[in-house]
């Protein structure tokens, strides 16, 4: 197992390297660079701008710039954000945490809803309950996230219960410790609903499908024949095996959440990595984009690794040597 993990980490390196190179080239395909936006300011002269450009090596060929970035990376220097005028590290850290928070909470709620609903649907296959849940999941899957977020915000403003975007209230600092937790919780509700709505649908269908598959198996028939109560059959024997596919999906879902949901974050003014990355890509803030992409890539690979390991741990049939 350890060998396997080490091998995976080793393979990850060149993968990340190539991914970063592709990203860097893609970003630089767009004509111009970040400093072009300064050119439109009547008060900046051309010399000033050229000075900025050479300061950040933007006047050198693209490949050279890439190696500058790589060199700095080895020193754990993620570069400088032109957009925010401060080292990338500082900007990303806070936003990453916010997105992580949103992702974890969303994932948690997605699972809490999807798994029971999936089980109920499988057990009551093709009855009204099953069809109804299917419909709900499809609805969740089909509404464009940003549209749903806007509608929710509007209705929230009509009813006045939930805050309208952001992560903290204006008077956050004067709240007690529990007050602060409650405040953030209030703010996280709408973005969580939007993200979970589409995520839970897929998961529910997978849970249902997987459980159905397992329930068809021989050993379930055996268990029933042995006279085990139906509850035990489903929740103890069947579920344990049906969970497998979900674990493999877990890693992928998690890292997908991290860099996705950008439009939702923007509409809900949630200060996360997605909206940061979107603004950075559009402004051609190269180092910020590279760092965010790298983060996303690492998390994807890590998530995959975690779920593969979890899978092996849960399912004794799986061996990786």
């Amino acid at each position: 197992m350890i060998n396997y993990i080490l091998r995976r980490i080793l393979i990850a390196m060149p993968l990340l390297l190539v991914m970063s190179l592709v990203t860097f080239l893609a970003i630089n395909l767009a004509p111009g660079n970040f400093f072009d936006s300064l050119r439109l300011d009547p008060q900046f002269s051309e010399e000033t701008i050229k000075h900025y450009e050479s300061l950040y090596h933007l006047d050198k060929p693209v490949i050279a710039q890439y190696f500058y970035w790589l060199k700095n990376l080895l020193k754990l220097d993620f570069g400088y954000s032109f957009f925010y005028n401060c080292p990338v590290k500082k900007i990303i850290a806070g936003r990453l945490l916010n997105t992580l928070l949103l992702s974890v909470v969303s994932l948690f709620f997605t699972w809490i809803i999807a798994i029971p609903l999936g089980i109920i649907a499988a057990v009551n296959r093709n009855k009204f309950v099953d069809r109804f849940f299917s419909l709900i999941s499809f609805v969740g899957l089909s509404i464009p996230g940003f549209f749903f977020a806007l509608l929710l915000l509007y209705f929230a403003s009509q009813t006045g219960i939930l805050p309208l975007g952001g992560m903290r209230s204006a008077n956050f600092d004067s709240l007690s410790f529990f007050g602060r937790i409650f405040d953030i919780a209030k703010h996280i509700i709408i973005p969580t609903i939007v993200i979970s709505a589409s995520a839970f649908a897929g998961l529910q269908r997978i849970m249902r499908g997987s459980l159905l598959d397992v329930l068809r198996q021989q050993y379930i028939l055996t268990a029933r024949a042995k006279g085990l109560p139906e509850n035990k059959v489903i929740y103890f024997h069947a579920l344990r095996n049906a969970i497998n596919p979900l674990i493999t999906v877990f890693g992928y879902e998690f890292s997908g959440l991290l860099s996705g949901a950008a439009l939702t974050e923007i509409i809900c003014s949630w200060p996360g990595l997605g909206s940061l990355l979107l603004a950075a890509v559009r402004a051609q803030d190269i180092y910020l984009v590279m760092a965010s992409m790298l983060m996303g890539g690492i998390l994807l690979l890590a998530g995959n690794l975690v779920s593969d390991v979890l899978l092996a741990w849960v399912d004794p049939r799986i061996r990786y040597d």
Partner: protein, 382 residues
């Protein structure tokens, strides 16, 4: 021994069709999709106006009421009243019916010229009114353009982008995946690593970066093709991975070994023996992926990087509607969102129904549990 008539056993394929028929939701979805595509093909005819026909005096005009009862109280052919507008004290536009002007709704009328199927010139429309008035079935947008017409024309872009994008990416994915799985070894390794790389980069941002990279002096047709190509480029990798997995298991089958020993070329084997067995999965995956492309197009339009005005797509129509003012005062403008929703849900339900119906076939081909990073359902809208 007498001859007992024996029914010829039905093929799996036919059984699947029967299963689908029983699933009423999936069937309904199928017909919804068919009518949407028909609507797209006949958009010029069904819409009373061209997508670019604007009357600025009718900015944000609410849906026109169609009356069937004449002022004298008799049942008569449908008609509308003229519309007049004014600004109230809050600078809000108020429209009212001018009962002095009556315009009957006529059918098969002459209207804006168009070219049916792109080359047959015509100007006949399903319905319309006297050119001095306007019939806005679903209201007008900020420039006084008929929303109904624009949604019809918009369906062409949104529906075809999904179909074309999926066709191209799946074609590439099938071929690449088939080859990769069949040959195995180094080729397999390289191709799979390439797939993983592409799948690692979050689709949304890659799409943005690629979109920004292309020269802007493209006309709308070229932009359309570009968007389709970008989507395909991002989408083929997931497909390839799954097909490769299936290909690996299929290449050990007896008929493949038999074909090999007969000396049939590799390409023929892949095309004739392996890929056809992946069809059921492909069909299901395709219908589940099309929504991703449709949503992706709306995501791009939200950022102003999709199909441009005056061409209509559901995505850019929706992005015009994304505002508090619109929701509160001009809610009809949100209809394109409903259309996106209906289309996406129809494809999802259909795909799901297909999956259920083709179940035994899929079982045989051995690959229906979505595995790690083998999802071919592309996600585009963040």
């Amino acid at each position: 021994m007498t001859n007992i008539p024996v029914k010829k056993p039905k093929s799996q394929f036919w059984l699947s069709i029967q299963r689908i028929n029983k699933n009423s939701l999936a069937l309904a979805s199928f017909w919804i999709i068919v009518s949407l595509y028909l609507g797209a093909i006949f958009a010029d005819f069904i819409s009373p106006y061209s997508y670019d026909n604007e009357t600025r005096d009718y900015s944000y005009c609410p849906p026109t009421k169609i009356h069937f009862i004449s002022p004298s109280g008799k049942l008569t052919r449908p008609f509308i009243y003229g519309a007049s507008s004014s600004f109230d004290e809050y600078k809000r536009r108020i429209y009212s019916e001018d009962k002095n002007e009556i315009y009957p709704v006529r059918f098969f009328v002459q209207g804006d010229k168009y070219k049916f199927l792109g080359f047959i010139p015509a100007s006949i429309h399903l319905f319309g009114v006297d050119p001095r008035a306007r019939i806005f079935l679903w209201g007008a947008d900020y420039r006084g353009r008929d929303l109904f017409s624009r949604i019809m024309y918009g369906s062409r872009v949104s529906l075809s982008i999904g179909l074309l994008g999926v066709l191209i990416s799946f074609f590439i994915g099938l071929v690449v995946g088939g080859i990769s799985g069949y040959y195995g070894g180094k080729i397999d390794n390289i191709i799979m690593r390439a797939c993983e790389m592409i799948m690692m980069i979050p689709g949304f941002y890659l799409m943005l970066a690629l979109r920004a990279a292309f020269p802007p002096n493209l006309n709308s047709l070229q932009v359309y093709i570009l968007i389709v190509l970008i989507f395909s480029f991002i989408g083929w990798a997931g497909m390839a991975r799954v097909i490769r997995g299936m290909s690996i298991s299929l290449r050990e089958r007896e008929y493949v070994l038999a074909a090999k020993s007969l000396g049939i070329s590799d390409i023929k084997i892949i095309l004739r023996h392996i890929l056809p067995h992946t069809i059921s999965y492909t069909i299901v995956a395709a219908s589940m992926s099309i929504p991703g492309y449709i949503l992706g197009e709306s995501g791009l339009s939200l950022l102003g990087l999709g199909i441009q005005d005056p061409q209509a797509s559901w995505g850019n129509l929706l992005s015009e509607a994304m505002g508090i003012m619109q929701i509160k005062f001009y809610p009809w403008i949100l209809l394109p969102g409903l259309f996106i929703f209906i289309t996406v849900i129809a494809f999802n339900v259909l795909g799901d129904g297909l999956r259920d119906a083709l179940d035994p076939l899929l079982k045989e081909e051995g690959q229906m549990k979505p595995k790690l990073s083998e999802r071919s359902e592309t996600k585009f809208a963040g």
